[in-house]
């Protein structure tokens, strides 16, 4: 039994790196470069497929062993070399659509380095609203109650 819900959220993260914008941009614009950091810590992401051009797509999938398969599928909407990348992406859990987001990555020179601003705006759908997650939410609620009463 699934309740149809749509919740909206947005977040922004800023990082400064000690290399110029074209170098930071290069880490996003090729599959080999991006696979070095877009995935599990310390590993090369062999599942990543990136076609970096406006209209091009990117896919990645994975998940815990014997668990659900999460699939990420992005489409690039705007690319300004060394300045800006805009893409939209969806996330599915097995066959169910969980979320749809718009992501903006901005690169700005900061002295010798680069300030990167990552902004994601998205809608989270009922796709993940499965009983096990709902149960987890309820347990957390009751745990919080317990800790407050203790």
């Amino acid at each position: 039994m699934i309740t149809h819900t749509a919740e909206h959220g947005t977040f922004a993260i800023t990082r400064t790196y000690p290399v110029p914008p074209d170098r930071v941009f290069a880490a996003w614009s090729s599959q080999d470069a991006k696979a070095r950091w877009f995935g599990e810590p310390g590993g090369f992401n062999a599942a990543l497929e990136l076609d970096f051009r406006v209209g091009g797509s990117e896919t990645n999938s994975g998940g815990p062993p014997d668990g659900p398969v999460y699939t990420y599928r992005a489409t690039y909407k705007d690319i300004v070399p060394a300045e800006r990348i805009v893409y939209e992406y969806s996330m599915t859990r097995n066959a169910a659509l969980i979320s749809v987001s718009v992501t903006t990555v901005e690169f700005a020179a900061a002295g010798e380095g680069t300030t990167l601003r990552f902004t994601e705006q998205g809608v989270f759908l009922d796709g993940a609203d499965t009983p096990d997650i709902r149960e987890k939410g309820t347990n957390e609620l009751l745990d919080q109650l317990g800790s407050t009463l203790a």
Partner: protein
């Protein structure tokens, strides 16, 4: 602080009752009609409706009536699911961007000659 503590008090008062806790736990598995919610409880339907109104007034449960059936859903858990999702995405990106920083810094210390299209070396051209 007084303004914030009042609704919290209502939530804890509502969950202080074992019947209402059981209702919340069952709604945690998915929406139920009032009669489904009442079924395992050894009490009258009007008593169940009273408990339900306590849970609704503090925002834990929401109910909507379609025809003759009133369906109850858990309100708090749904909100938390979305918040958890976005918090998880944010945390994942914090880690990824840190890894990106580690890769970029490693390239400064030990340039990767196979992946450096941005730094042409005039003398290396064939």
């Amino acid at each position: 602080m007084l303004n914030q503590s009042a609704p919290v008090d209502d939530v804890f008062r509502a969950l202080g009752d074992p019947t209402r806790r059981r209702m919340v736990e069952r709604l945690g598995l998915g929406p139920l009609s009032v009669s489904q919610l009442a079924q395992p409880l050894d009490m009258t339907l009007s008593a169940v409706v009273q408990h339900l109104s306590v849970l609704e007034s503090c925002g834990l449960v929401r109910s909507t009536k379609v025809g003759r059936t009133r369906t109850c859903t858990l309100e708090g858990a749904g909100i938390r699911l979305g918040a958890d999702w976005f918090a998880g995405q944010r945390a994942a990106w914090e880690q990824r961007l840190d890894r990106l920083g580690a890769v970029l810094t490693a390239d400064i210390d030990e340039p990767d000659t196979s992946q450096q299209p941005e730094e042409p070396d005039e003398r290396s051209s064939p």
